[in-house]
Amino acid sequence: MPLATRLPATAFLIFAATVAVADEPAAIEFNEVLFNDQVRPIFVEHCLACHGGVKEAGGISFVTREKALAEGDSGMPVIEPGDHEASYLYDRVADPDDDFRMPPAEHGRRLNEQELATLRSWINQGANWEDPWAFRNPQRRPAPASPAANEWSQSAIDPYVFARLEAEGLTPATEADRAQWLRRVTFDLIGLPPTESERTLFETDHAAGAYERVVDRLLASPHFGERWASVWLDLARYADTMGFERDPPRDIWPWRDWVVRAFNADLPYDEFLLKQMAGDLVENATIEDRLATALHRNSQTNTEGGTDDEEFRWAAIVDRVDSTWQGVLGMTMGCARCHDHPYDPLWQKDYYRFAGLFNTTQDADLAEDWPKVAVPDDPALLSEAAAIDAGLSDVRQQIFRRGQEAAGPVERWQPLMIETAESTGETRLDIRTAENGPEVAAIGTVTDRSTYTLTAAAPAGPIAALRIDASPLDPDTAIATPEYGFVLSNFRVYLERSPQATSSDEEPQEVELMLVEVLADETEGFFRPIDSLRDNSAGWGPYTRMRRPRWAAFVFESPVELREGERLRLQLKHEMATDGQGPLVMQRLRVSTTSEDAIGQLASDRALRDLREREGALMARRKAIASTATPVLVKQPVSLRRKTYRLDRGSWLSPEEEVDPGTPTTLPGAASDRLELGRWLSADDNPLTARVMVNRVWAEVFGAGLVETLADFGSTGAEPSHPALLDDLAARFRGEMGWSLKRLLRELVLSATYRQDARVSADLVKRDPTNRLLARGPRGRLRAEMVRDQALVVSGKLNPRLGGPPVMPFQPEGVWKTVYNNQKWETAEGAARFRRALYTYWKRTAAYPSMMAFDAPSRDQCTALRPTTNTPLQALVTLNDPAFVELAEALADRMLARTEETPRDRIAWAAKEATGRPLPEAGIDELVALNEEMIADKSIDEGFAMTVVANVILNLDAALTK
């Protein structure tokens, strides 16, 4: 039902119920009470705070029908369908005694007669329930038709808007003049003002299809992607730094460029989401596909000393869940982190099941921001680099499998009877008897970078390899709440000859037994286990956290014959440390040996040697391709995959039961991993994604969403102003438009609704201050980025280069003073000063001040809606910020270069450049008078006066507004 008829209809039902109170309740029961329109609002306003997802006071909840119909603690049916008198709910809300009625007096007012009548009718009619409106799949809706509507309409959205206006007794505004529409559409599509030649071309194009030609030109512009990327980057919390205290730099701009390219290529929104959620998991993933997953690496990494990586890894998962729900699904899922959602059928378990989809990537709040993909700086090398990466991955898989087969079975190993164990630093080592041989344990204060020395009597017979098994202190709890891990940076084995064996004087007392191969339990970790044979800090081990016992086998160059009385001395160096609580040293370990040929042969095995050689060659080739390493999502190997638990009250230190990854049970469809999640988001039966996106695009173009709360389509959010329009547009966006943003925008900006004049009467402002009814064209202040970009265009300084590393335009000294971070703002010289605002270096703890003044968010977290404020500090930016003054000077130069013209003509020209239309004569008179006054003052020259006038022009309301 179109909204035009929906509103009065709703009112009628309420009215009917009201009449019924006065007369006879039974008389109105043929009027069906609509649950979502009439009953749910009563529950939300009066009941759910205590009888909802957070609290189920008295065992009563009104979140779902099933819960509402259950017996509460009282044992009485809360709702008896068909019989309000037998319903405890009705009994309590209608109780005349203020001491007994619900809601209790201290929580709110008594339900009024109308609300009581609604509940009564609803119960008597069977207490039918409906899913929340946003959970119902949007379908095509027939457009309301009338001759007047048909005459006015220019696109499919218009009849809905017209019908609502008609119902409100309003008529659409007249069509905007061409200049007004051109400025509006140019900013909306490419974020820049129309140039003089673009304005002239359009003004003089009287052939049919002139508007369409403008729109098609703008949609094809490479600046389209920049404009729409800036919207997406707010949701993605994109920044050029990692955040928190030290806020170090992060090279994630290649992903920003991916977004720009995706918008320019009109990558369908379903694929756009799929690639960003799981580009690494799609078949034959390219480097670009893997790069797309950096969306969720825009979460913050906390590198402050003494922070717990696991705590902030979990914070990043929470951020990914919340950003996905706010930005893509438009529901306040964040509520369910600590408890069931208070108002909507989303359960705490759903939250953790959803988190489980993100909880199995390798990133772990590491200071290095690993894992990363090396994105070739030269796009021509993308496929070569991808082929090398695939080759490397294949080689490493093969090496891993060889190791698993040969060294994995524990029965091939015999415990080494360790007799002494010593450590450097304050670390004390204890030798304990365990069921499978002696175990070395670190106790007391454990010092970073401890080196262990273990000795044992040599086992009888030859040994081909050693194996180290390291365990968490408590494997039972570590699986859910991991312990600090370790990195074995260097492992050496020495043989102490027995005195009688050293018959020759030349033979040394102690020899090193050379290790040549390391095979471990991890395929592709952050380090290569074989690095534990080299003199660097890299090596084998869980970095920085450990959930499970781990093992690695170290193979000798050739099997070693040991003689009675000889001793083995093992030296284990740990060279990695975190800046914080836990040491990265093994705290429980066992050593075993083997004489099995199957393992010993690995040292000389031709196939394995070939693999190692290929690995080295591929690594060298890849290194030769100049690249930018960008953080991305990479899945964990199955054997090391984290489990996900429901967390009591959201605390990562309080894991409860394990949950299976998945999507909320209330919503249709299912997903058990990120790839399925990517598909689930845009599945045919997903009711949210398309609605939320068309609503966001609508808000960008019309100034406010059809649902004003862009990130809250739930029971507490705003209701749609035009529900049928929203549903129809959403259904068509994912249907006939094929999720194409450009098709969607084309329809919106060519609509009669959008083409309306923005001029408004005082009456209409009063009646509809925020233009929800759309009885006029949209008018609003430029976004922060547009304020700068317009000044760049009008001054003639814009450097139109697309993409690349962030740039540093002018910023006052002293804005960056971040602790423990020596990064400096180095103001760009030359054309790099004049890049679009999108490319300005964005530091989370000290963001670019002039953009912040114009409401750009800090990008600490997903921002679904930028407020638009109007403050004196904004005036100071555009009046005095040297970055703007410099552009005013350049505009003045352009004015002065028009040597044929009078000062008045130049001023009129510049004002038209900045506002897209001729300034009324009275306005020009003001500017000319200002100019003349200044010139009359002998101390001011013509150029300076013109700069002042240019500065004034860039500060006009008409210039700051689209």
């Binding site: 922070t307 454990v446 005095n880 006054e933």
Partner: protein
């Protein structure tokens, strides 16, 4: 009323109510009031978007009209300043009892750390006889003006999250800072200065960065405005070279006259708001420059604070705080960086570095309190001194080994802050910790309790100073139950 009239009436009511609740006000749209449940609580702040800083009345009459918050970023050691623990001195060098350590998390401490006695002598000060260490000889003279809280407790032991908690009530980003809440609730008494000003000293921004004075979900006009000692006191306050203030006034006049014609043509109320903002900007240029200049302070005053015009120092910032408070700025937030004394360097040690930092704040703190009192402003100005957490009674053993200098690790369980003026008791001490100062034994005060108390002193019920957002009434005190600490209030 016939059926048709009734229908129309109800439709209109529905529309009107929705517009009101959705923020049916020019320009700021839904942001001001949030979702449709906005009417749930009384005590709601109603704001005219064209005058967001206009003074507003709190829920009830209150003593405190403004706040000066002195944040010692990095978290100073209570054991060397205000927390007198003779027993800790006696136990110096002994292992910390394992049962105290069990289940506690620390930033750097590990294994079996040793207790570290206080490094400086304490003695009773003032008539109240409250104990203060010898590092603060001047401040000792102000001790009868303050209330100490020895049992502040937090659950964050890393700087950035702990500072976020102190300033926004949430340990993660996204919350609105205390200064934003207070200016949102009360507006400001001076429309020509930002209502919420931030001043930094110590050479670095606090660990939390600008999120510590961000407006979070509140409209961004309520975010703190950082004022500076070098360059423009407020960013972009000064005119471009060659533009005199007369010329600036003339250009703003020209802008506003043209904007009047724009408004006449387009009818957009935002244009009128913009005209007002440009006028305010012009006045701010004069008034902020004046407020931020120490040139007219007497040598006696400069001497009392230890202030030197042009320098960036805590002393200057204390004096500036008084000047701003005097001019009606609602909330002045100082951050003094350099208190994170782990013992990793001489500067960052409690035996050497702390003496230097204590000297930097000693005189200014005392001068600020006496100056406010002399001017009759202390009674309605709430001054708060705090870090983001405390420091351990144990010596830090970072990396599992003895460190070069004496230092203490971050300690969430107990720390000391003080409050003065604005209706707070004088010469009072609240709460006691155990003999080694590991944790509170009486009257623990959570950060949210401190927030509730500050809001109470300013005339707000912390449960009712709310901003509806995504189905939840957001509060400075967040979701867990907070209480006003009555014992602090005179």
């Amino acid at each position: 009323m016939n059926l048709r009239q009734e229908l129309q009436h109800r439709t209109t009511q529905h529309v009107t109510r929705r517009h009101f609740l959705a923020g049916g006000m020019a320009g700021l749209g839904a942001l001001w009031l949030g979702g449709k449940n906005a009417s749930a609580s009384s005590g709601r702040i109603v704001i005219d978007p064209s005058q967001p800083w206009a003074p507003r009345l709190p829920h009830y009459a209150a003593k405190a009209k403004r706040v000066i918050f002195l944040h010692m970023a990095g978290a100073p050691s209570q054991f060397e300043l205000f927390e007198h623990k003779p027993e800790l001195a006696r136990l110096n060098g002994q292992k910390c009892p394992a049962e105290l350590m069990a289940g506690e998390r620390f930033a750097f401490l590990r294994g079996e750390p040793l207790l570290l006695g206080p490094q400086y002598p304490f003695s009773p000060a003032g008539e109240s006889g409250l104990w203060v260490s010898d590092r603060l000889p001047e401040f000792r003279k102000s001790v009868d003006r303050v209330t100490f809280v020895h049992t502040m407790t937090t659950d964050q032991f890393n700087h950035a999250p702990a500072q976020l908690l102190v300033h926004t009530g949430l340990a993660r980003q996204g919350g609105a800072s205390m200064g934003s809440w207070v200016t949102y609730g009360l507006g400001s008494e001076n429309q020509n200065l930002p209502g919420f000003v931030v001043l930094l000293s110590g050479g670095k921004a606090p660990d939390v960065g600008q999120a510590g004075w961000g407006s979070g979900y509140l409209p961004s006009v309520y975010q703190g405005v950082q004022c500076r000692s070098h360059g423009d006191p407020v960013l972009f306050l000064s005119n471009p070279e060659g533009v005199s203030q007369d010329l600036r006034r003339r250009t703003i006049e020209a802008i506003n006259r043209v904007n009047q014609t724009t408004h006449a043509e387009w009818g957009d109320p935002e244009t009128i708001t913009r005209i007002a903002q440009y006028e305010m900007a012009c006045r701010m240029q004069l008034e902020a420059s004046d407020a931020m200049s120490l040139g007219d302070e007497s040598p006696t005053t400069l001497e009392a604070y230890g202030a030197a015009p042009g320098a960036e120092s805590f002393a200057n910032n204390c004096l500036l705080a008084r000047r701003l408070a005097e001019r009606g700025v609602r909330f002045v937030q100082l951050f003094d960086w350099g208190w994170d004394m782990h013992g990793t360097s001489e500067e960052g040690s409690i035996d050497r570095g702390l003496t230097k930092k204590a000297r930097e704040i000693d005189r200014p703190m005392h001068a600020l309190l006496s100056d406010l009192e002399d001017r009759g402003m202390l009674e309605d100005t709430l001054v708060i001194w705090a870090g983001e957490f405390g420091r351990t009674p144990m010596r830090e053993n970072r990396g599992g080994k003895e460190m070069a200098f004496l230092g203490r690790d971050h300690h969430a369980k107990a720390f000391t802050i003080w409050l003065a003026g604005g209706g707070v008791k004088r010469g009072h001490s609240h709460g006691e910790t155990d003999p080694i100062g590991f944790g509170p034994v009486t009257q623990p005060v959570e950060v949210r309790d401190l927030h509730a108390t500050i809001l109470h002193l300013l005339g707000f019920d912390h449960e009712k100073l709310v901003y509806p957002l995504q189905g939840l009434d957001q509060k400075l005190t967040s979701v867990e139950k907070a209480r006003v600490v009555e014992d602090l209030i005179a």
